[in-house]
């Protein structure tokens, strides 16, 4: 595990990785954009990696600034009859459903 992390720290982001990230992000990019992103992301991650100067072995990660447990609320419906409101901004018009390209053949 530790060895694996060390390899990650010094690995630069190649074009293949950029295209993989774009796939994961559901953002299509052309080759020109991919080349630019490769350059930008490498510069940013080179700068980010200064965090590795710090030893954080015994530090608890900070996951929430408020440090309180989440409140419970009553399980009850607060808004009713908002179907029209919910569908109002849908990019494809249909008064009953959200319409998407065919998913199941």
């Amino acid at each position: 595990m530790i060895i694996c992390l060390k390899i990650n720290y010094h690995m630069s982001i190649d074009l293949k990785t950029v295209k993989h990230i774009s796939k994961l992000s559901r953002i299509s990019i052309d080759d020109q954009k991919a080349n630019k992103l490769e350059k930008d992301l490498n510069a940013i991650f080179k700068w980010i990696e200064q965090l590795n100067e710090l030893n954080t072995d015994n530090v608890e990660p900070l996951t929430s600034i408020a440090e309180t447990t989440l409140r419970f609320r009553k399980d009850q419906i607060e808004t009713k009859n908002i179907r029209e409101d919910v569908l109002k901004n849908s990019p494809k018009d249909n008064k009953d459903y959200f319409v998407v390209p065919k998913v199941v053949e």
Partner: protein, 485 residues
């Protein structure tokens, strides 16, 4: 009679209450000036006609008990406003009309304020110069072709140009305080959990806070008082007793201990900012405060930490923009193709870059190395502040490492753009309140700000310190209306 647009928010409120002026007179004055100020590109949506109607309605049946009686306000276009287009300055939301109201804006309208329009900002609040907006750059009234800062750049510019008597912004890493500093105005980011995030287009949920942007500190206290509330609709809203910030505002800061963190003396910081900071210390001493040198040892690591945490949260928050339920959709051959084309065409370059950074640091095999590491360093940064606040009541720093720059100057170098927020980002990471107040001018006559950072929930403390300093600094914002033809 003095020109209405030169008055502070408090002055306007008082004049309405004493029936010296009507809501319609004020609303008309700000709308007229806004119409003459298109060159600054501050508005993305104008609600002038409905505002005039609302002001007439107020004048017919005025309620002088309200805190913002009939006062016109333009707000950052990151706040959802019911039946008024809300875009986050993104193409992907260019036609989005919310069917609900954000809690913070609801609080404003409940106290009598009237919406006059939605203000430009960086796309999804990602930027420090308002150059990432789908609707174009905002220009600062301070000088032609000068950026107003960001992401609340439209808010800062509209306020400084007197197109709105006060405004509200959001601050994830400095997006209220940095543009306030660049435009010679006052901006406050409250403690995390103070102002509800409900109905604000989400960027990085553990960092986002809404806050007031005003002409002076007294206005800031009033607007914060109206904005801040406990809200069950925001699961991280904190239920604490909110003081009456405006009536508790005072200049008694004798004996207050103010920390000066040595790590904020960064390489390459202009001498004039160093000098300004020194002046700030002297003003505080004159007010009877005690200056204490402190150390925040992990300061240098705050920005890289931020650029893991914020994009990670953003990549998750912005996953909802898929072209299905609302917003822009590009047609595709199948569902996945539709998603990919929609997001590719709907988001701008900076937003795409941050989504991709976030996706990468959260992806399998990299989570521990980047995201978990950043959360641990975030803890160290918070510990620094906790330790400092054992010794001091508040901390004084410059707001930014430089004054405003020209449009295009930093656009092609993301890291150099990110460095703008070096003094503001640690405050968001630790969830603390911070205020930027105008404190002087640089060699080009561009405004410079000082930041006061407080303990959690001590907005009153930093407001009082700011109020005391404001009197000593006696900053006067001067613009010669060059953009009005």
């Amino acid at each position: 009679m003095t020109n209405l647009i030169d008055l502070t928010l408090n002055d306007l409120v008082n004049k309405v209450k004493s029936k010296e002026i009507s809501s319609k007179e004020i609303t008309t004055a700000y709308i007229d000036r806004s119409k003459q100020s298109k060159k600054l590109n501050t508005y993305v949506e104008e609600t002038f006609d409905s505002a005039i109607k609302s002001s007439e309605k107020f004048d017919t049946n005025p309620d002088f008990k309200k805190k913002l009686p009939g006062i016109p306000l333009a707000v950052k276009d990151l706040f959802c406003t019911k039946n008024v287009k809300t875009t986050a300055s993104s193409k992907i939301l260019e036609n989005f009309i919310p069917s609900y109201e954000s809690t913070v804006t609801e609080n404003l309208w409940n106290e009598g304020a009237i919406l006059i329009g939605k203000l430009n900002c960086d796309e999804f609040a990602m930027g420090s110069s308002n150059e990432t907006s789908h609707f174009g750059n905002v220009i600062s009234p301070i000088d032609d072709n000068l950026v107003p800062g960001g992401s609340s750049g439209g808010s800062a510019s509209a306020l400084a140009a007197k197109l709105t008597p006060a405004t509200i912004g959001t601050d994830t890493g400095g997006s209220i305080r940095q543009p306030a500093s660049f435009t010679g105005t006052v901006g406050l980011k409250p403690t995390y959990g103070s102002c509800s995030r409900y109905g604000i287009v989400a960027f990085a949920s553990s960092l986002d806070q809404a806050g007031p942007m005003t002409k002076d500190v007294k206005d800031c206290a009033l607007l914060l008082e109206v904005m801040s509330s406990f809200d069950p609709k925001d699961s991280t809203s904190i239920n604490f007793k909110r003081p009456n910030y405006s009536s508790n505002l005072n200049k008694y800061i004798k004996g207050k201990k103010i920390g000066i963190p040595k790590e904020y003396r960064v390489d390459g910081m202009p001498f004039e900012i160093e000098k300004l900071w020194e002046k700030g210390k002297n003003y505080l001493k004159d007010c009877g405060a005690e200056i204490i040198d402190i150390s925040l040892p992990h300061t240098n690591y705050a920005l890289p930490t931020y650029y893991i945490v914020a994009p990670a949260e953003a990549s998750s928050n912005l996953a909802r923009y898929d072209g299905v339920k609302y917003g822009f959709r590009a047609e595709g051959e199948n569902l996945i193709d539709m998603y990919e084309k929609t997001r590719s065409q709907g988001f701008g370059d900076e937003v795409k870059r941050r989504i991709m950074i976030g996706t990468y640091v959260l992806s399998s095999g990299y989570y521990d190395a980047y995201y978990l590491k950043a959360q641990k360093v975030r803890k160290l940064i918070k510990n620094d502040f906790d330790n400092a606040f054992n010794k001091v009541d508040a901390i004084l720093t410059p707001s930014t490492p430089s004054s405003a720059f020209k449009v295009g100057d930093k656009k092609d170098d993301p890291v150099s753009m990110y460095l703008n927020d070096i003094f503001t980002v640690p405050v968001n990471l630790a969830g603390l309140p911070g205020i930027s107040i105008p404190a002087g001018l640089d060699k080009n006559n561009y405004p410079l700000g000082l930041q006061i950072i407080g303990k959690p929930f001590d907005e009153q403390g930093i407001l009082n310190i700011a109020y005391s300093m404001e009197e000593k600094i006696n900053f006067k914002l001067k613009t010669n209306d060059w953009w009005i033809k």
